[in-house]
Symmetry: C2
């Protein structure tokens, strides 16, 4: 098995042919069969034809719509049973913690930070190490179909800039945030911003770097990243808010992940009504703010977040691993809050947003278990296959202000997509092709042939992995492929 | 990537060289480095040498101990970073439901049975379909390192016998249980044993078949399988108990998986004190009985099960998927009950016991979340990496009366084992070998090189999959291998 080298920018028009699946709404998937998606050389979708009599008809239809000649376009055609799906969006991931995934013992948030996380993050000021870790992280997440990632790095400027460069080179759409953590007493002596001024200056340096390497933020954007209230001073939070207003940048931080953390915030900010109020007082609750976790939000906090149009990144793998708690996605939706999914590596153990989606269904069932059998809210609490795939794509896009750019297949959107292939079981019970020399391991999804499309998608959600993601495109550029 | 064809019985002695990892106790793993395990032609471990100066020294040591000549033995040597681990033991799996994994919608136990499960099971009376489904299931679980599986089939005798034959041919150690379900009103008209007599006769036929094809139950054993109390009559349960006493066979059934099911049992068996009491009254709680789920056991039930020395199969994937509840492993251990892991396909979505182990850690954390932060039982509730790997191996062996045969590496035990390889990240951040033509996809575990052995095992638990299981042996016979 060989991963192909990254291609350069697409030089030709592209036409993708086959079945396309994406979210029609939170509750429903839309299946475009015998469809064609025409993509221009800037990676933008120029035309779509669907439900044609054949793929060939669909191709002709988009050629007519665009006025392109067949010879001007490269064609990518689904094989039987394959389908295109929007790229996944990871709304919360610490690239700098990638080497620690799976390593957390019995810890919970605050001791986990001290024991596992701060030492590793600190060590990435070694640029050779940062290059190694960030390369592995970006390539790994691309291989899992993550076309957009919202990264925390470390406090280190050169290493943060390196991650921005890597995302550009490897072709992943990314938000890259240098972590701001300047609060004495909470941050360890060996790993902290010396002062609010130093923190803000360093942050500005990483913004300037991205301004230089991707001036229009076409692929990579800076994101303001106060680590979380316990790690920041009011001064640095105010200063980041000022930059936000000045440059209209997105913001990311953590909120209400763990009960101990909430107590700590109460103790540190006695004047604040709630945890959310701390951020609000520092004008960090903006429509461009992504709040990770939000496990223990009160009603008032949810109302405030909803009013401010801030967003939430739901990180079920992490919340289970670190025994943080069970975030209530349905409840947040009811409150009018937009929600996306985060791997939260390495609080979360997996690089895969598909795994995060799977665990989101299970976490919603753990919440449901606490509700009586005859209470209708029990069933309502459970998230469906369709709903978690919405979280993984359109939900994430909306969290990051990319709702008009990515998350589904529509004219005018950019092609951030993956080609999914599921395994097939032959009549003899062997996996189709398994005995051939050139057989590519199709992973753990076994399709027998009688399944509906909805059932195939459910099988993919529950047993799919990176082996099912055969190709990945960002802005029309092929950024990952495997046999 | 090619899966090798199944080898025949080992003709020569075998010597395995490298690092061996297995459970020393519930809480501790034992690492045998520079070790050799010598296996005789019956698949039994004849000698072990550990902590030698080199693998070559270890090999010499076992040759001395056994008196074998080097030329008489085939040698399997670990590469750098690889290790041998005991084969996994799946103590609860419905082979007949394999095609449905991942398909369960928002259902819970009783509607799931009716909507998804009974129709599929019934359809396996078509032997061609049964051959296809069972072949896929056995090969898939072997590929995940499951060397012993405790199967439910369907009510169908020929299809059940087919599964027994397949396990023998493909080399998986298995308990094969024809499902007994003769209770009118609960079982659907189209899929039920006509009467207790028919049920018992059919069960005897499957036992006779296995008596013929594997007279000493060396690899495949029958297991008495009353589906669960709501699906069985007192007559059939009594008759199965009689067979149990007559032939000393193991028994498997379900208990206390779901609140609705418990209510149903209460209603059907008004004279019984508890659900467990129903089985006890029919003398089905034996030291050879494996009870799946046991989510809502009362104190009295746990005490009774412990007194009877019956065992529990913990199925976390299933219990989460079907919103059944959260079984308390620590509590059952405290009660003196032996526990193993089950995939419970297709209530569980995954064929992998490694996934079951992973989900067992997460489920224990969901239980812990319900306990106050300052209560010591909160921390105690969480299962460790070592504990869930114990459940997956020695725990399962003890549940199935195989404690002296498999589950670890000791002289006199049989070689049921897997060779595990983890991925490595090169200095450039690429996965080692990734650019080579012959590169075998090593999966999602990325070892950077600085990890301790405990950390490597944790990484395997949380991100490992069948790609890491390079070879699988049952009774010394190589039954699965991949590049």
């Amino acid at each position: 098995m060989v991963l192909t080298k990254l291609s350069s920018e697409p030089k030709k028009f592209q036409i993708l042919l086959g079945t396309f699946v994406h979210s029609k709404s939170r509750t429903e998937l839309d299946y475009l069969h015998n469809a064609a998606v025409a993509v221009d050389t800037r990676g933008q979708i120029a035309a779509i034809a669907r439900d044609c009599r054949s793929m060939s008809d669909a191709k002709d239809a988009v050629l007519r719509q665009t006025g392109w000649k067949a010879s001007e376009a490269d064609v990518v055609e689904c094989e039987e049973g394959q389908f295109f799906f929007p790229g996944f969006i990871d709304t919360h991931v610490h690239a700098s913690q990638y080497p620690n995934i799976g390593i957390f013992g019995k810890s919970s948030l605050l001791d986990w930070l001290e024991r596992y996380t701060f030492p590793l993050e600190c060590s990435l000021s070694d640029l050779a190490k940062a290059q190694r870790v960030y390369t592995a992280c970006v390539r790994r997440t691309l291989a899992h179909g993550t076309t957009t990632a919202t990264y925390y790095t470390t406090i280190d400027v050169p290493a943060t800039n390196l991650l921005a460069d890597l995302c550009l080179n490897l072709g992943q759409r990314a938000f890259v945030g240098r972590v701001c953590m300047d609060r004495k007493g909470f941050c360890p002596d060996y790993y902290e911003d010396e002062s609010p001024e130093v923190a803000v200056h360093a942050t500005r340096e990483t913004i300037s770097h991205i301004d230089k390497v991707d001036p229009g933020y076409e692929l990579v954007s800076p994101i303001l990243t106060p680590r979380f209230a316990p790690a920041c001073t009011p001064e640095s939070m105010n200063a980041l808010s000022k930059i936000q207003k000045e440059k209209h940048l997105p913001v990311q931080t953590h909120i209400s992940e763990n009960k101990g953390e909430i107590e700590l915030v109460k103790h540190m900010y006695p004047a604040a009504k709630t945890y959310a109020d701390v951020y609000d007082k520092h004008e960090l609750l903006t429509p461009k703010t992504v709040l990770a976790h939000a496990v223990y939000l009160t009603d008032d906090e949810a109302t405030l977040i909803s009013q401010r149009e801030s967003k939430v990144s739901h990180c079920p793998c992490s919340n289970s691993s670190l025994t943080s708690g069970e975030a209530r996605v349905r409840w947040m939706w009811d409150k009018g809050i937009e929600v996306g999914l985060g791997t939260d590596m390495s609080g979360g153990y997996s690089p895969s947003i598909l795994e995060a989606a799977r665990q989101a269904t299970l976490m919603s069932r753990h919440l449901a278990m606490q509700i009586d059998d005859d209470d209708a809210s029990r069933e309502r609490c459970k998230l469906t296959v369709e709903e978690v795939l919405y979280l993984a794509t359109r939900g994430g896009a909306l969290c990051l202000g990319l709702g008009d750019k990515v998350g589904g297949f529509e004219v005018g959107k950019q092609l951030d997509a993956q080609l999914i292939a599921l395994g097939a079981v032959g009549d003899d019970g062997l996996r189709a092709g398994e005995d051939g020399v050139d057989w590519a391991d199709a992973g753990n999804v076994d399709v027998f042939g009688w399944e509906t499309w909805d059932e195939r998608i459910a099988k993919w959600l529950y047993n799919g992995d990176d082996r099912n993601t055969k190709k990945v495109w960002v802005r029309g550029r092929l950024v990952h492929s495997r046999r």
